[in-house]
Amino acid sequence: MSTFIKLLARNRLAIFGAAVLGVIILLIVVTPLLPLPDPDATATADRFKRPFSDGFILGTDHLGRDLLSRLLWGTQLSLAVGLAAALIAGTVGAAIGIVAGYFGGRIDNVIMRAIDMLMAFPYILLALAIVAALGPGLLNALYAVAAVNIPFFARNVRGVTVSIAHKEFVDAARLSGMGHIRILTTEILPNVLPVVIIAMSTTIGWMILETAGLSFLGLGSQPPQADLGSMLGEARAALITAPHTSIVPGMMILLIVMSVNLLGDGVRDALDPRLRSGALSRPMAATLVRRDETPPEEAETEAVLSLENLQTRFEVGSRIYRAVGGVSLAINPGECVGLIGESGSGKSVTALSVMGLVASPPGIITGGAVRLNGQDLIGAPYRRLRALRGDRVAYIFQDPLSTLHPLYRVGDQLTEAIRVHHRISRDAAHERAVKLLEDVRIPNARARIRSYPHELSGGMRQRVAIAMALANEPEVIIADEPTTALDVTVQAQILKLLDDLRRDRGVSILFITHDFGVVGQLCDRVAVMYAGRIVEEGTTAEVLDAPAHPYTKRLIACVPELGAGRRELHAIPGLPPAVDQLPHGCAFAPRCHKATGLCATSEIELTGTGRKVRCILPEEDVA
């Protein structure tokens, strides 16, 4: 609750809306106490008085009635009616939606068909029909507006309820012996409520507008009683001669609806957890770079791709997540380097930093260099990055279903990859795409090229992604857990394919994974990451057979390996540190059984050449 208020208070537009609305509400609350003339008292002699004349602050209307008085009373009525309509529609709609969504099946089916019928009307037709049947009048207009909005709420709430009813905690509640009613009230309702509140707060303004509209048409409040809509409706005849009679109520409607909308949007943003973390910002075309130091001197290496002290962080609010805290890694031509680590250790961010693909905001590259054939790419102009992306350095990502565009045929996605870098004809590109699909051993490539991603199996999709990465014969392929989302039998096929391809084509691969078995089967060298840094590096055999860093050693020990039989596992106590509050010194110190006082105080360097380790008491001698 307090976070809700805090978030709301941070939203300037919402505060503005709340302030305006507050003033209006204050005014209508004190209206009965103000020395105002009777809003319905006519005085034909005083017709169409301009504002600020003869003691009429806002002037008079066509019957000489005081506009200020009518405005305030009318505002009161309009607000009350709009609010009532929203409450009725929200409550009834939410109840229907929850029942339909929770019970599902036939009940859901019948209710939702009925809702669909109601939504098949342009809303005003239904409202007009209801008013026509019940007769014009403010109360009937209220019913009409409420009734017309029920389907909207019902459908909205049903959708949310369905997704919540399928959550595992609802199953858990059933297994805890709870009945339907109790689950509905204690498990579902508290989780649906924010959605109902959001829907209401964002539609109250709309309902006020709609009831005003019906009154404007003469179907709502009946003379002499005034609400804002009917004031505007009556003033229309004198629009040209006495515009103030229209402008006064019109502006009031605008103010009310706008302030309610602003506040409602604020409430939505504060309640919607997706918006909370500021996550709904769009990643820019390339990661922001804010390098304080000039990049280190260029060293002569044979490496195709080398990262030198790369640092990438995320700035979310006041927190700084040092996802990559100075990573150096070189990949030689034709080499496959594994990058292994637990979730959150910064593997993906390292990989994405290479071509400036880290989402920004909030990501920022704050230091280091990424050299492709010796030339630094950090801070390179976007045009240069773009020209290299997919051409010299290509990516394969984890989940092929979400990384391929769902609405383009795989052939079009392949040819696009070729044509953004090479000026060749559509037909030539097509032929090349077929060839690529054959290269990744997709059977019947000429037919499959017309498929959409959802028509392919997971393994086939990943083959398409690999074909796309190969399209321009890049020097380096960065594969970010390309087999993690696949079943083991499919994983084996894909690994074999990658292994064959890299041997045939001599392409370098940076292979990211969390599976030692995969590294052991595929990679020449491996680097182990922990809390945003490389803690150990060496040839695969060296690192796996004789891990030097205590973390590597214990991590290998806690992963069961097939064929080793039933046994006790050697767990590592504790959790990896959060990268927004890294401990001083060695990040592994809180979990390390060898830790000494020195480990937590001094900065530990990655030492060694070729075989490297970041530890002052390594398990193996690496020098």
Partner: protein, 315 residues
Amino acid sequence: MGGYILKRLVSAVPVLLGITVIVFAIMSLIPGDPATAILGSYATPENVEKLNRDLGLDKPLVQQYFIWIGNMLQGDFGRSFALNRPVLDEVLDRFSATLVLAGAAFILCAVLGIIAGVISAARQYGWADRAITVAVILGISIPSFFLGMMMILFFAVRLKWLPVSGMYAIYGGGDLPDLLRHLAMPAIALSLVATGVVARLSRAAMLEVLRQDFIRTARAKGVGEGRVIWGHALRAAMVSIIPVLGIQAGFVLSGAVYIEIVFQWPGVGRMLVDAILKRDLLLVQGGVVFVAACYVFFNIVVDVAQSLLDPRIRT
């Protein structure tokens, strides 16, 4: 594709039936003797007797419903006593005017809304985004009827750029430029709210899509930013924008009622309001069913457009 269209058409039948049931149910809420209520001040004995004969008002409700449906299927929507002419003729005349107005407004809101939304998302937090956001908030908060009245005051009365109201000039009008001059203000006033809603939802849809993995894939391939935004991202966002357009078409059609009154546009909305005030209930009933049916067919078009875009639903 043809199969999908056919399937959607067939599935419209129960919806149409449902619409007639709902309208019939609402109309049967009318208190008192139906014939007198329907006829109001036109309730002469002959009229009452004729109506009872045509609609079977003395029969049970279910039977009345089927008589009514049967009549409508034969093109007989009943007779407006206030206008003394068949309901269908009047509705058809008026509906074409509404179609011009609402159609123009719909195209405006779709095109401008999507463009504004995409720009706003692509330049998130830039000045264009801020300006569009403020405009959208104003747009969705201003009552269209009030906006229309203010436009008349400013553009027609003060600047005298455009005619105050009507669809054609009374003398010497009737050609296309004349229609466009009359159409400009009402179409803009009508489209404003919908433009705001479309812009806002397009922005949200684009922001959602731009964070998806396949956008990162496109960038990783080296696709240029213009193509990423207006190609990859917009195409995926259209999947959630198109249904919104379908809903907004309903709102535009609804808003037309106010705009037609403000600008004296001879459309079906104004006809309905007049009919309600005159208690010409057969005209209301017929008009509502007709327009709702047209909207159902429009939504089929929307669904077909959606299925053209999204191969995943084309089965």
